[in-house]
Point group: C2
């Protein structure tokens, strides 16, 4: 240990503490303390020579397990630095990134020039911001009055912070759903329809953040989704489409940081939604993009007015970044399909592709609607009616199913979605009319059952809005990996009377 | 260890890690992990029975030193929970405080009603907010467009979050300087003048945050300043005034949290300055308050325009909270007095009170100016000229000095400011005219020398703006506890050419 004021060098050691996403350096206390008090921001360097080949920005905590000397690091920082055995690290106090001056300007209500946005996003992508600095940027830039010009600048900056795909000779089309509607898993079906009709859809999807399943989680129960850009390219060149996990592709790394902060603050500002979605679409090489915005009282977007704000902002920013965009404001009142959770949703997807008699009609209808809009964006169809008919025919003819199987094989092999070991049915206790479901509570219920961590877990709806039920009739099924998770979910279902909205008066009349 | 999903109980143990201000709970990993991943926010309860007599909100890290079972806590959390030997703790996942919905509304640009501000500030005072949640509130509420009505609501909420003094039968007057001007230590002199003239000034001051010395740090080199409200009251009843540390009095605890977040983000929004200052003045029982706003290119307030924003906001919010306020916009171009650092500034204060020949004239003049404004606020003087003459006379007659000694004795005894073991003189190297100093760099220099941690440390200026210097003539002295700190400061002084702005052309002409 060799320390002068504000810096210290020593052997790098794994402290064995998981601090999640935050990088922590544990320095010795007492006599070994190098004058770097707790919560000081530091730059930590590992590797030979003065060039500092591997570096990271971290927060100091003082105290080491068992009073060890040397420099301890949290698990995430250990993996980020990837040290070799016995390597030393240099830790040095660092001032806040210079671009924080722009964040302060944003806080005080000043508009940021494009260059400023690039500096901020570049520093966030390089993880030079502390968690509170990132949170401050999110809070300051969420402001409703952020000009569309600034949102466009943020979008450009996010794109430039990472890797970007191109599809020479192809007109690549992407789609995005604003979400919040359990079971609304149209993407695999839409990609299969479009690809089967010669339209290129290189789809990179996310995993669940706060929902019961992301498209990548659902797809992963049917085929591998973790691959690099080269492998993704081979799939698309062969099949016209793919459904892979975006996390492996290095798109817009700053966006990952911002999304984490937004999740921790539980804030979904239009500015962030639009910048994040469009940046990833551009990074993915899309020329055109369809945005599905379901509106419903328990969906992510609750009112027509909120949807209109998004529609306008998407249009303005897409124009600025050179994307053709179409927005579909759809009915988000009810969950879609029967399954909520990765494997349960995959079964709905497969049922629609197979044309099964019991396939959820609402999921099929939404998929055809979205696919038709995608086909229109391709420029190959001159009328909505023709596009709709083509999409419908791709399903009935089995072309979409065949293409989906081709995509799964190209991604590494098709597989059967897993089935849960434990299933418990929740029954109606009286005569009633089913009015609907609370979408947020359904997502929470599926997560309590174990989704998405356990892909087989989740909820299967046994009734639809408008159904009449009698005592003892199944309302829904809870699927989980253990009775513990099922009971945890069942306990929640028992006390949340709004989860399934039952009208007992109407039920009694029937 | 007994854990079900989302909660765990176990013996409370001190982890020996100083995480600064942030409360961290260290949970066992591996088989002992209770399903609370890193960065989960939890409520931790200690004490007998279900009432949870002592609780705190904390962040989970996973992993314990040596793989211990039980519940480890960071140093700050250990002290906050004050556990008895062998006590158990219950840790339970907790959702974000409900008032975060208001913070999100602020982020999106909505104005907050007073009741919302109370909820937010109450949760911050109770430390229910995580650091990033507090930072988000600071960032969102810094916005330049925050209405004065909202700043007033924030001020009221800060006042209500803590303890409040009252001075029945007295008209208590307070003063505050926006700061950023090294050596501008008028407070002890102003309090002595006012108190000697029968005007009540119960002054509670802060310690340094980013400067080289706070008024409490300076006063502490001459008398004890740490006391509770009862002791403070006795001093004021006996002497008409006091200069104590505000930290011991329990005023506006939420303000402490906000100030920390503002410091970490290095943001000083008018809304926060005004709310924080006025809340503490009301909590201190003042009826009238004088605000000194020095304006200078390297002071905290840099332009007349910034000062005017503050003047207006102070007037509007003071009116709302029932304070009479007067703002003095003063010249903040140059540092005041000779000393920068607790003891060095105390010597300047004593020199002015003693009427020493070498007492800094600028510090005396500013003190008389501020004292005269305080006397006007008391309503006992009908003209500025009369108030000024009274203030001046209090100094020349020795009345202020005698009163200051009385205050020091009442606070626990007067003492001699300490002298530094190591002093190094920085000399001019050529003929030059001294144009001025960079106030921010001077503060940094004094801190590098050891201030305010070492009260004897700091900088003593040996030249004034307008002086002509020759090679070898002293420019300033560095005072520190060790040659290490002196050298660190000297190294900084050697490379910061703007620290002392020297005009070599003018110097050569002379």
């Amino acid at each position: 240990m060799d320390g002068t004021k504000g810096e210290v060098a020593g052997p790098l050691q794994r402290e064995g503490i998981d601090s999640g996403d935050e990088f922590i350096v544990f320095l010795p206390d007492g006599d070994g303390s190098p004058g770097l008090p707790a919560r000081t921001r530091v730059r930590i360097c590992v590797g030979q020579g003065t060039a500092c080949p591997r570096e990271a920005y971290a927060t100091v905590y003082v105290g080491r397990c068992g009073g060890a000397a040397g420099i301890g690091v949290s698990e995430s920082l250990w993996h980020a630095l990837a040290p070799r055995a016995g390597e030393w690290a240099m830790v040095k106090r660092t001032p806040p990134p210079a671009s924080m001056a722009w964040v302060r300007a944003t806080m005080l209500g000043h508009a940021l020039p494009a260059e400023a946005m690039r500096e901020v996003v570049g520093d966030i992508a390089a993880r030079r911001y502390s968690p509170i600095e990132t949170a401050a940027f999110v809070a300051a830039s969420a402001h409703g009055n952020l000009a569309s010009r600034e949102v466009a600048a943020l979008t450009h900056a996010l794109i430039e912070s990472g890797f970007r795909l191109a599809w020479p000779g192809r007109h690549a089309i992407d789609k995005h759903c604003i979400g919040g509607l359990p079971g609304n898993r149209t993407t695999p079906i839409v990609v299969a329809i479009a690809a089967s009709l010669g339209v290129t859809m290189p789809k990179a999807s996310s995993r669940a953040i706060t929902s019961a399943a992301g498209t990548a989680d659902v797809m992963e129960t049917m085929a591998p989704v973790v691959m690099d850009a080269a492998r993704m390219r081979r799939v698309v060149e062969q099949e016209n489409g793919c459904v892979v996990w975006s996390g492996g592709l290095g798109f817009a790394p700053a966006d990952d940081r911002l999304v984490r902060a937004q999740r921790e603050l539980d804030v979904n500002a239009p500015a962030h939604i639009v910048a994040s979605v469009l940046a990833k679409k551009v990074a993915c090489g899309a020329s055109s993009v369809l945005i599905d915005i379901p509106v419903g009282p328990t969906a992510k977007v609750r009112t027509r007015e909120e949807a209109e704000v998004l529609v306008d902002l998407f249009a303005q920013v897409a124009d600025d970044v050179g994307l053709a965009v179409r927005t579909l404001v759809t009915d988000g009142t009810h969950p879609v399909g029967c399954g909520i959770g990765p494997a349960l949703e995959a079964r709905d997807v497969l049922a629609v592709l197979h044309g099964d008699a019991e396939a959820p009609a609402d999921l099929r209808e939404r998929s055809v609607q979205v696919a038709a809009a995608v086909l229109m964006l391709s420029g190959r169809y001159t009328s909505e009616i023709a596009a709709r008919e083509a999409a419908d025919h791709a399903l009935t003819s089995g072309m979409a199913r065949a293409r989906f199987e081709g995509i799964c094989l190209a991604q590494g092999g098709m597989r059967e979605p897993p089935r849960a070991r434990c299933v418990q049915v929740v029954h109606a206790t009286s005569n009633a009319l089913v009015r609907g479901f609370d979408c947020r509570m359904l997502a929470r219920l599926a997560r309590l059952a174990g989704a998405p961590e356990f892909p087989e877990a989740g909820v299967r709806l046994r009734v639809r809005p408008g159904d009449r039920v009698e005592p003892g009739q199944p309302l829904l099924e809870l699927h989980g990996p253990s009775m513990g998770s099922i009971e945890s979910a069942a306990g929640y279902a028992a006390v949340q009377s709004d989860l399934v909205r039952l009208d007992h008066k109407e039920g009694a009349v029937a």
